[in-house]
Symmetry: C2
Subunit: 426 residues, 2 copies
């Protein structure tokens, strides 16, 4: 089938999943999870072939070593994939909810009812678990879905999709609601991005290169996530224990993710006490500090300057999404300066303040319009699961439709439902 | 200033309007309204020059006669423009609302707080009132705005914007939040559409040609409204009085607007009684009926066939947005057939059912996923003001971000606000 035909097939099948009951959808998702485990042998065989090819590419130097780890499946990871699908099956169904309803003066009863978006396209890279995660989330929210995974995982994804489609059929839902683009070339991405008559939304999941390629070429609305340059501002009144643990948690617990801290801003009144304590804690975890002049001077003044872990910051450091055990550190004059820094160098993703001052906390929460703003808590909570949204389809750093972590609800929209008794407009 | 410089100026000024209090914003909007009336002479002079040029173009046959009416301003229309701005000034401010807040098991308090989108670009055609309407709505919702109006209204729009900016300054808001692209060429639209670093959303307001041009060329998210092919389905149990008045109101009250009825679908059991009554009512208002075979036969059978107002429908008729005193009519077998017709030929805008059956009503409301679905009420209620949303920035027929009539709230997004007491992620 051509990609156009696949997109049309998804569009035609969309009303089936849109009108399926919660019971039917959950049941089908449970069968999808079962099928992943029942077909484990076939999936692991396919994955082994992908992994073999990737290992050869790593040896040739065409791919980084971390690539194979992202691609690799085993019994445990497959079980985790099935478990994630079962969690989505058990989640509350957003479809049909009417959170608002009001009566007009002329007696019309108006409400907003939640409905699926229609057809969602997901374009992603080498992790095969995205195949089952994204399919489960889109289908649970009543959408048909078109998946385009990374070429290096083609065999794995194909086997996963075969299992998922078998589960759908066993659950009484036409597998046409789940389309998989079985192609390794980039042209197929372009073909998908031009199906604006059939596809309502594209979500790219992957590195900045993929995201920029997709948003530059799409004729379909795209929800993007470029990068997370997350800040923590340690205010004059910051509690030292909270500050140290929040900074270390944000930087060290999982440095490779988008909600990790990349820059620490310290109020100038705390350059002599709190900054050294934080720096010592970070260096104790092997973190390299990229320090502005005042931060460097403060550490030198306290005899904490370690040339292996302390380097002067350039302006590029403040734009950097390190995703590694590196952090930029700057001393700022006050809240205004901290917010100015965030607006200049930030990515609208996630920012935190550590403060005991309710006034500074509220000012920070009001004036910083990143997708997640926190007081006295780790930036690592900027995550759909941690916020209680359930499984996450992604994080949006653009403000249209969704901003921040996206759960099932962000895969839906609302229509107006109006009940009258013969009203006409005068 | 280049368009890039204007977009950047709007981006830089956006935090000023985003953090302005409701009182400040309302006050500035009131001053904008006052300025429109205080500068009436200058605005009407500028408009007279535009109108003179447009009249010459009409005489040459380059423009339709209705064009001049849309362009023309007089004291009364200017007063109405100022009145509309005052209404927006008085409307509830969506910014800062937290409609949802919940506590996580670890003690984190999470809420979603409404914030502005940032910078909104509005691209529109010849009605100068859009200049003040769109500016007022965007600014009230805390956004900076970049306006690009039709070239034929350039002098009028320039004079209106001068008044609005004077009002902003008098109200204590930097006029940089309101940028006007003072250019008549289409290249300037392309330039605006490529400012994705500075502009968060583009809303085109105008004919299908403009909307398609904008969405084909924009690198910025676009909220679109192509057309409204609205349907009324008269069910087997429809009350005849309601049916006749709802159809006539939907078709005749203002045929040129997008929420007017374009197609009437009649249950086959009512082809002999209700269809003739509806047809007679429509023809009495001079409406031309484009009838499918069964509808044609029914009218002939009742001696109601008037060759001047009854023509056989082609398939194109069912796709048509007439915007005139024309309507397509088809007889359908049942609700399934009616919904199938709407899914095939509709535009996802607005559809109504007339029925006394609660089962048919609920099935229609559930299964038809157009932006507005009504039971026993005129499609003409698909309008922000009529639904109680306040003034309308437009109607979206795409499902991302907004679907259906868009008020102030649709010019905003939400961020997550999280309050902790030192929580870190385990």
């Amino acid at each position: 089938m051509t990609i156009e035909a696949q997109a049309r097939a998804a569009r035609r099948a969309a009303p089936l999943i849109a009108s399926a009951s919660s019971t039917t959808k959950s049941g089908a998702l449970m069968r999808m999870a079962d099928a992943l485990q029942a077909r484990a042998a076939a999936i692991l065989d396919a994955n082994a072939a992908d992994v073999e090819e990737a290992r050869a590419a790593v040896e040739r130097g065409d791919l980084g070593a971390a690539f194979v780890d992202r691609l690799l499946l085993d019994e445990g990871r497959l079980e985790a994939m099935a478990g994630a699908v079962r969690e989505v099956a058990a989640a509350d169904d957003p479809i049909g909810r009417e959170d608002e309803s009001w009566l007009r003066p002329n007696g019309l009863r108006v409400s907003r009812r939640r409905i699926p978006l229609g057809v969602v396209g997901i374009i992603y890279e080498a992790r095969p678990n995205v195949t089952s995660d994204a399919a489960a989330l889109c289908l649970k929210a009543g959408n048909a879905v078109v998946l385009k995974g990374g070429s290096d995982a083609l065999r794995s994804n194909r086997a996963v999709v075969e299992a998922l489609r078998a589960g759908l059929a066993a659950g009484g839902i036409d597998p046409a609601v789940l389309q998989f683009i079985d192609s390794a070339d980039r042209e197929s991405i372009l073909a998908l991005l031009s199906q604006e008559e059939s596809v309502d939304l594209i979500i790219p999941r992957g590195g900045e290169g993929l995201v920029r390629f997709v948003s530059a070429h799409s004729r379909i609305p795209v929800i993007k996530h470029y990068k997370g340059v997350c800040h923590v501002y340690l205010d004059a009144t910051a509690d030292a224990d909270k500050a140290v643990s929040i900074v270390i948690n944000g930087k060290v617990q999982r440095p490779s993710v988008c909600n990790a801290i990349e820059t620490v801003l310290v109020h100038r009144s705390r350059a002599e006490d709190l900054l050294p304590a934080v720096a010592e804690g970070l260096m104790g975890h092997g973190v390299r500090l990229h320090l502005d002049e005042r931060a460097l001077a403060a550490l030198k003044g306290r005899g904490l300057f370690d040339p292996a872990l302390c380097v002067p910051a350039t302006e590029e450091d403040f734009f950097a999404e390190y995703l590694s055990l590196d952090v930029a550190v700057a001393v700022v004059d006050d809240l205004d300066a901290a917010i100015g820094h965030i607006q200049t160098y930030g990515s609208d993703h996630t920012e935190a303040i550590v403060t005991e001052s309710v006034g500074q906390a509220e000012a920070f929460l009001s004036r910083v319009n990143s997708s997640v703003v926190l007081v006295n808590a780790s930036t690592r909570f900027a995550d759909g699961g941690q916020l209680g949204l359930g499984a996450e389809i992604g994080i949006s750093t653009t403000k249209l439709h969704a901003f921040g972590p996206m759960g099932l609800r962000e895969l839906t929209t609302t229509k107006f439902v109006i009940r009258g008794d013969g009203q006409i407009r005068g």
